[in-house]
Subunit: 253 residues, 4 copies
């Protein structure tokens, strides 16, 4: 069982678009993909097990276990209501470089089998400092896609990300391109210090246009507000530390 | 020889129950399984060798060597005397995540071949502090099993273990479930600081009921007493250190 | 996809000579091979992908991605104008020892298929101190080649390199020799502290003679001058530090 | 090329005895096997290459390279002059646990093919302190062999080595035993701080009796004397340090 994809259903989809959102910087891609999945009510059709995942089961609140895995969902639409979708989500990526390649190769094989027309991978772009207005950066497999994405508000900025794109969000582009599938990586700008629902929200604003979907982003806004309140408090603490407000406390303590 | 199971005998068993007890937190599972094995006089029928174990032989007291391995035992009973058993014990688990998956997959294949009906994996649940009355926590593959285990005194506590179950005790549940075998992990609560015969004893109290076995737990109690005397002494030393009783000694020394 | 070589063209070459220049000490081999490639206008005919490379895509300035890979180029010449060439370049070597073997084995298979007559691998020989006049050291698969290289100015110095040659530059010799292909490793002496275009230049002075090529090395000289200016500044700074010139600054600061 | 054994000759041997001496604690096994090989003038008949060795070539004094490898030698004797021998020597063992298993498995396959009757693996037993009169400790695959070895001066001491035998010297016993080949590990007692020709000499004193060979051990004695002179000097220095003889020097310096 190098990589095993167990199908629960074999949905018939028309030229589906594939969306990946696995854990990564700020968990931006994971947050975005899981929000998308919930909002559109996508249906699970397959699970992915692999020896390249951690050798572990998770224990659910009801006492039952779940073997570490990724999950595949689909969302199909009538006639002209927009393209059908496949979503890849999960709590883990492959543990080793070789595992990353094996897993992404298996997913690209599935994309080929299911006639996937385009891949969007969702990730975070860590900048190491607080970001007020996160940009959505892009990278694609073709120049035509660069233009198309620019028209939809995606930023292409020379040297960002300088180190390339590591993991599934990168490999699905590279391996997909080798199999003739066009692909785009959308990266929400994030500090990388916290999970970042705000970057995920910005990312979904663009993705929903690209996928012709109307999404309610209220839950992500709520989560973003929570995170903001926490970081604001942390900033206050930091400020007080700098101004020496804690010195008195130390005196007493 | 990725994973090689060498059979010494091919026992005919009726719907056997499989019990795993390999090394882990507090060696609770190993202690329990090995005590069970001795008390019922189970018979070895196969050994498991693998390149995923340490590349090492152990030297016995008589000067002969033993290649690192796991061992499989069976215990068969007449008529209604209770279910037949298979036990998996050993000094090592797989060294790498991939090795863990390969070894547990091979064991699940064996379970399928031998018609195993249910799997119990035994482990420790480390809480990082001394435990007076260890609970036995559980995780299972189905909700029905959760209920059955609760009736037998197993505790299911939301968020325990929060990090899931790592290694063979977890994988045998996950991989077994995928092959349609029902499975339960029983975890004896333990500090994790010492090998913990008391947690193993509590675990066997429940397991013996589940397996319809009468077990003499005197040896485990003895071992538990020994450990308790040692930890009591360590506590005394710690107490004296806190109270400064050693300062005088330092004075003299 | 352990190692996948995708051909874009199948050039017909006469007894080609194979030249490898992948990243390594001071990037001497990479600099030399890439300069050679540009100067002769070699043409790409294949790319090498592998799960032994980092699981990563690089983002180009135009926003498109490039899956981590090695590349194969060829250069064919009319009649007596000198031997045909194959060049191997890229940004990465295999991540693991096993990956190194798998990649170099695949390359040697390609060499056998394409009738390669001789292999030159290009590398750096790190000496851990600044080098004014870098030597070009050699190692070969046969004694006859040692003599031939000596006649072309290559230095063979007992105990250099004492630790052997690690990575593709070494393996292509060893694995090539096992398949009956003669091979030479040319190592430009370098501090190993910086990328070293000067060592690459010296290496190409010899290689161009061996390959019967006229190469313009002006660009490498330019790069070497740049590096020299930088290192000269660093030396000044070091000197000032030793002489205490910074103490005054500290006083002020 | 997981493990590749390239034969240069196919010697016909009668029930040969296999002797392994690869690098390890104090290089005792390697020193002993290589001395044995030289003294009897054994002839190389095969080389072992593997992706589990370091990805490296060694450079010989004449400028030619040698791919990292192990080597197999044989020594055949007329009629009753004693058993034929196969020797395994080399500069490296497998880099990873899995590599160790793969390499030793390949060697055991070769032993089976060549009708090997018994295996001796040679190693060091590190005790972490200087040893005046090194013992030769043993471990075997059968109780009969324990007795036979005791009669030849090999020591069997309960709990030594407590941690078992790691690497080829252990695996060849374990894997050999599984294939029905009897095997003995002989371990020369050594501090483990230096390469230890004296432990190797003691080991060969016993092995030469077991193999019915007359060996000149003068060269090993010489090497042992050299090491002894070095360690004696180190002891002097240590003594002086303890006695404070260096304090005066510090005073001056």
């Amino acid at each position: 069982m190098d990589v095993e994809i167990i199908f629960e259903e074999r949905p018939e989809l028309r030229d589906p678009i594939f969306v990946e959102g696995l854990p990564g910087v700020g968990n931006v891609g994971k947050l975005a993909a899981e929000h998308l999945l919930e909002e559109i009510g996508a249906k699970r059709f397959a699970v992915v097990y692999s020896k390249y995942f951690p050798p572990q089961v998770l224990v659910e609140d009801d006492g039952t276990i779940k073997l570490v895995r990724n999950e595949l969902y689909y969302y199909s639409r009538e006639g002209d209501a927009g393209p059908d979708l496949i979503l890849l989500v999960g709590d883990y990526q492959g543990l080793t470089p070789e595992g990353q390649y094996e897993l992404s190769s298996a997913i690209i094989d599935l994309c080929t089998d299911m006639g996937v027309k385009r891949i969007y991978t969702l990730g975070g772009f860590g900048v190491g400092k607080m970001v007020e207005e996160p940009r959505v950066l892009g990278a694609t497999t073709t120049l035509e896609l660069v233009e198309e994405m620019k028209e939809n508000g995606v930023i292409f900025s020379r040297g960002e990300p300088g180190s390339g794109i590591v993991g599934a969000s990168g490999l699905l582009l590279g391996l997909g391109h080798n199999k003739g599938i066009e692909a785009v990586c959308l990266m929400g700008e994030t500090s990388g210090y916290f999970i970042d629902p705000n970057a995920a929200r910005k990312l979904l604003l663009i993705l929903s246009k690209l996928l012709d979907l109307e999404l309610d982003l209220a839950k992500l806004e709520e989560k973003a507000d929570q995170i903001e309140r926490i970081t604001a408090k942390l900033k206050d603490i930091e400020k007080m530390e700098k101004e020496g407000s804690f010195e008195d406390l130390n005196y007493i303590g």
